[in-house]
Amino acid sequence: MTPGLRRGAAMVLAAVLAWLPAAGAGAIEIKEVTTPLGIKAWLVEDKSAPVVALSFSFAGGTASDPAGQSGVTDLMATLLTDGAGTLDAQAFRRRQEDAAASLGFGASLDRLSGTLRVISANRDEGFELLRLALTQPRFDPDMVEQRRAQAIARLNQADQRPQAVAGRTLMTTLFAGHPYAADPEGTREDLKMLSPALLKRRAAALLERSGLIVSAVGDIGEAELARRLDRAFGGLGVGTVQPLPQEWKPPTKPRTIVVERPVPQSTVLMALPGIARDDPDWYAAVIMNHVLGGRGQQSRLFHEVREKRGLAYGVSSGLRTYKRAALLVISTASANERVAEAIRIVRTELAHLRTDGVTEQELADAKTYLSGALALSLDSSGSVAGLMHSLQIDGLSPDHLVRREALIAAVKLDSVRRVARRLLRDEAMTTVVVGKPVGVISEPKE
């Protein structure tokens, strides 16, 4: 099934010659497409590169792995592109390579997601491979073995990587008793028990059209997209929307956990209960986070921890949202001897922000940055598709990109202060330190 190679080269080069930049594209224009089968998609038609990119997801993720089958969703997602229909894994991969198509699946706590990227001249083949992966995945025993062994090796490696250990420890601590505590990549014991039949069953349970969300970007029109989506996804059952995990009760007491590792530098994560995406104070929280430890080199944490004291190379904070939980997480890493000082400075900054809020200047600067920053990430078809897809997951409307600016502009000093008081509570802080920290101990004792 490999196309003649001269033909292959010609195919690729023809695509390049057909490329013409779009005439003065400004803000991206999102169209809503509903297919004859009822699949709803967002589309940004963009002819500035000869590429079509798709970003999509299904309801249900690793948090709903059945008991005793942790890791099943993640492993299944990997195996979707390891052979389908009459094609074994090698043949399937060769078809992707020969079409310059790249198809991949992955799982988060709440969703099973996929991306397709293909040179537009080869989109017949790209969408056909997508259809095969979705509707006829094989789960051949030798590929299941290979991916399982790789998954176990990754767990072994993660056990030795301070950042991974910190991340895992944070989740198991914060979400003890909740499905979000489980390792998305599974446990070694559970992974060993996963059979092709169980993987197939998991695929059948999640790959349903009822919770499907699709975004498309690139050199493709509305009618054509609708036709191709129906063909690729039409073979899936409609199904029922997956139930959500139970509500999460955030911790109400401070906690510090030290995980010993023989490394010269300690990795730190500090987490607080965060704010839901649909909370009226969301943008106030976004601005607060930007001032505190947002991306770039302007934040208070960057200034106090790195610039002024040289305590760390990286220090940042971020808002994380899940379907059933939200977090504000601060991360940094500092030499074992100095990490206690770094943690102390972070705490001081949190207290300062909680008491005094942000300044007029900080508010204004954050607004300009946040208004402009979204455009900075629109640098490839895939990133535009990814952005749209995240808006869809958050339940926002296509005009959100237009409304967003006004929502940011409307944030007042008072609302930032309010949200700072609400979120930055020392008594709800969970701190995880991985390394051989001096002067930091687990509290309360286990």
Partner: protein, 448 residues
Amino acid sequence: MLGGLAASAVSAPSFPALAKLFTVGRRAAESFTLTNGLQVVVLPARRAPIVTQMMVYKVGSADESFGRTGVAHFLEHMMLKGTERVASGEFSRIVSRNGGRDNAYTTFDSTGYYQIVAPDRLDLVMRMEADRMTGLRITERELISERQVVLEERRSRIDNVPAALLDEAAREQLFGRHKPYAMPVIGYVDDIKKLNITELTTFYRRFYTPGNAVLIVAGDTTPEIVRKLAEKHYGPIPNRKVEARRRPAQGGTDLPQRVSRADARVVEPRWSCDWLAPSYRVGETKYAYALQVLARLFGGSETSRLWRALVTDSKIALSASAGYSPASLGLSSFGVGVHPTPQRTVREIETAVNLEMKKLIDGGVTANEVERAQNQLLAAAIYAQDSLASGPRLYGAVLSTGGTMADIDAWPERIAAVTPAEVAAAAQSVWRDSGAVISLLTPAEGSR
């Protein structure tokens, strides 16, 4: 395999030097040179209302000397401090306040600074970049605190990472102790600890000058706009002569060598082999294109020879790959890396890799394999064109290591012209014991 070349936030381009694919379309890439010697490259793309400015200086860690490593990278950090006009730490704040982002990176051969901003802020970031080309001021206080930051960066990237420590040891053997590419980009701890202002400013004055730099502007702009702004901001800066940079024509002298690291922090062993290889500039440069094709078909994907033999068929490895990057001012390296399946011995891995190499050299490669690899390389070039981030990086990597715009234009044809016989000849030329370093990463004795 040896790690990427970059020490900073962004790693060196993983694609080989690309392609005139950037220039196809209505607006081609344009290059011109100001009278002070600054080369300017414009890559117009209208995808989004953003522009990337990247200033690449033709100086990197390989321009340091033994006992004084880490200067290029440390200077990169200090460039974010102040000048006469911009207060310390304000550079990034001003960019951010204007809705933009900035960062920088250091490699063996180059140092790059970039900002991504709205098109109407290009004037602003050019003014600031021009200002710090000559006006940098470093104070003792800032140096002392930044030294801690650099040491923390080194801990994060190297000292906390056993594979990175092994890399350092492998490079010392491959390129020869105390030689430019043998020393880590970020520098050795002892050197970082004693670096002083005089060394930094001497290095800065010696290499940071218009004639030793390439300015790349990509995104929603035109060559006309860029020329006007570049002349306004960079034009008045007088050029200083920079002596030609030198790289050794030879690598390590006592090869082959084996280096190993048994580390309590390792659970999954790794086997890898690196060979001295030509770059576009040094060594058997005629093989620089064939080696890119070789790396792709030998270990560039899960359908490659190595993956099929070791992972799919004999199942003695969990992964296997090959890599090669020709954009280097001096010698480069060709690497093979294998992650063995549990219970498999290093000897088995080595035998299997050797067998695959022998098969390739004895039996050659098929026209079909070569053409598939060529297609994959060209496709990667098209996707790179789809991203506003990769264009400047690729141009920067080529133009700062002695390459020209014509080289970039000719890349697709040169890749497409590689024959099966050339691939086999390149393999034979590079896979010599006298150019090899084998690295082995294992758990500490008794730790597992």
